[in-house]
């Protein structure tokens, strides 16, 4: 019991004094109730009286202490100070009305609970508005970033597409020119003139072969001519023999004319005529001899000429043959080499054709891939739509929250006995302080360009 006095002094300076005072009462009653079955009746009666006495003293001291520590203030307490309501209870408890003041305490406790609830609700609402505001900011930021990314990728894709188109055009031109160049070596004109390498090889091969054949034929003819010349030479030798016979015949005729002349001289006058005939025969024989000599001379010259021609013909035929064979060999070599080159050209042409097909396939792939910018940007814009919708909804909800809060304040001002105007910001009578016009700050200049228009 004695320990109660310092406790009261302490609680006199504390705001929790009424609770402790009640607790003391309840504690004493509990001790008394607990000892009821064990103590005799007079002890119980005595202790009950003592307890009542102690409680009375306790209440008295409590009132005295309260009057000293907290004089009743003038005017209405500021409603937004949470400690004021509790002080108010202290004051009421401090009024010397004794235990009759308890119903008023209950009323105040109820209002305190309501105040706490209102405060918590306000706290939750503030938190809610704060979250909404932060979401709105994040959503706006995200949308701007996504749009920047879309713009950047669009720019890059446009550049890639332009460059790709230029590259393909140049590659096509290059391939066409290369093909024209190579196909020129493979084709031919309809009139048969060689316009391609292949054709040139074919025509030159045919003509050179023909020429070589001609040369061989000329050589053969030369050999024939040499053989013919041989025959001619033999025949001239035969003529020589004949000429010798003719000369022998002329000599015998001359001798016979001489004999006739001798016989005519012996006969005398009767043989004079015969002598004239004999001298004419001798003269004819001499002329025959002269002719034979001249023929022999000509024949000699002919044989010498034939001999020279024979030598030339032999040299000519032998030389032509060797040269023709050499040319033929060279032509065959050249043709083979050209044919090799031509095969290489044909291979290159087919390689270029294969490469062109591969390039065409690659081009298709690039054309398909370059469309993905458009697809992804549309997808991204579509993905942003629900977020924008949510942001708009949040704005409405926040506005409703502000109205609700104002109504709440109004409804609480009555029972709580506080001053509703004390909570209002004089600069902005439409909103509650701390809520600070969150949604209105959302409309940025960038919003004007968006496909999703916000208000």
């Amino acid at each position: 019991m004695t320990s109660v006095l310092p406790f009261i002094r302490r609680t006199g300076q504390s705001r929790r004094r009424p609770q402790w005072w009640l607790a003391a009462c309840v504690g004493i009653a509990a001790v008394w109730g607990w000892s009821l079955p064990y103590a005799p009746g007079w002890v119980l009666a005595g202790s009950g009286c003592t307890a009542l006495l102690v409680l009375t003293v306790l209440a008295y001291f409590a009132r005295m202490e309260a009057e000293v520590a907290h004089p009743i203030p003038d005017g209405t307490p500021a409603r937004d100070d949470p400690h004021h309501a509790l002080n108010h209870i202290d004051e009421i408890l401090g009024i010397p009305q004794g235990l009759e003041a308890v119903p008023q305490v209950d009323e105040l406790l109820e209002s305190l609970v309501a105040e706490n609830q209102r405060r918590r609700l306000e706290e939750v609402l503030r938190h809610w508005v704060d979250v909404a505001q932060r979401y709105s900011g994040a959503a706006t930021d995200l949308r701007k970033r996504v749009e920047a990314v879309i713009q950047q990728t669009e720019h890059a894709t446009d550049n890639i597409a332009s460059s790709f188109q230029a590259v393909i055009n140049k590659a096509t031109l290059q391939a066409r020119q290369a093909m024209e160049l190579l196909e020129g070596t493979q084709g031919a004109n309809s009139d048969g003139t060689p316009v391609s390498l292949k054709d040139f090889i074919r025509v030159s091969d045919v003509r050179l072969n023909k020429m070589a054949d001609e040369v061989v034929r000329v050589a053969d003819l030369s050999m024939n001519m040499v053989r013919e010349l041989d025959g001619v030479q033999k025949r001239t030798q035969a003529i020589d023999g004949f000429l010798a016979d003719v000369e022998k015949l002329a000599d015998q005729t001359s001798l016979l004319a001489l004999n006739a002349d001798i016989e005519a001289a012996r006969v005398g006058e009767h043989g004079r005529g015969f002598a004239v005939v004999a001298s004419e025969v001798r003269r004819l024989s001499q002329r025959s001899h002269e002719f034979s000599e001249r023929i022999r001379q000509h024949l000699k010259e002919v044989r010498a000429g034939l001999s020279r021609t024979y030598g030339d013909m032999r040299t000519l035929s032998a030389a032509d043959m060797a040269h023709a064979v050499q040319i033929r060999e060279d032509v065959i070599q050249l043709t083979r080499s050209l044919e090799g080159k031509n095969r290489e050209v044909a291979d290159t042409v087919s390689q270029i054709n294969a490469l062109s097909k591969e390039i065409a396939l690659d081009v298709q792939n690039v054309v398909v891939s370059l469309q993905f910018h458009d697809i992804t940007s549309q997808e991204l814009t579509r993905t942003l739509m629900p977020m924008e919708e949510l942001r708009r909804t949040l704005y409405h909800v926040m506005q409703e929250t502000l109205h609700l809060d104002r109504d709440l304040c109004k409804s609480f001002t009555g029972p709580a006995g506080g001053d509703p105007d004390a909570k209002k910001d004089p600069a902005d009578p439409g909103t509650v302080p701390g809520y600070a016009v969150p949604a209105m700050s959302e409309k940025t200049p960038a919003d004007a360009n968006l496909s999703v228009e916000l208000f």
Binding site: D158, A161, Q364, V367, V368, D374
Partner: protein, 120 residues
């Protein structure tokens, strides 16, 4: 050779369509949205229109309706080339008067094949 108009708000898409059709020997004119496309269609003769759906100012479906209202384009083939693949959108395109529907991304060979088919 036939003249084809491609309508898309994405420049790279227009470039790819032009590139593909040019390589097949067609003349291609480009428009960035429905309004531009309609103006182009009024001042020139087109044999085929290939249009996107989602575009600013005037979308593809509205463009098809406007083109079909013009006497010159009552029977001109109009192909929709879009990322949309829902049946409801397809039906809307068909009701507006579109000739065909191609979902992006298009394959160049496939596009040329379809273009030849509708132009014949």
């Amino acid at each position: 050779m036939a003249t084809i108009m491609t309508v898309d708000d994405t420049a790279s898409m227009r470039q790819m369509i032009s590139f593909t059709l040019n390589s097949a020997g067609y003349d291609v004119v480009q428009a960035g949205d429905g309004v531009e496309a309609l103006a182009l269609a009024r001042q020139s003769t087109l044999d085929l229109v290939i249009t996107d759906i989602n575009m600013p100012n005037m979308d593809g479906i509205a463009l098809v309706k406007m083109l079909r209202a013009l006497p010159d384009y009552r029977f001109t083939p109009i192909l929709m080339l879009t990322t949309e693949s829902q049946d409801s959108k397809r039906q809307a395109g068909k009701n507006a008067g579109a000739t065909g529907w191609i979902v992006k991304p298009f394959n160049p060979d496939q596009l040329i094949h379809i273009v030849r088919k509708v132009l014949d």
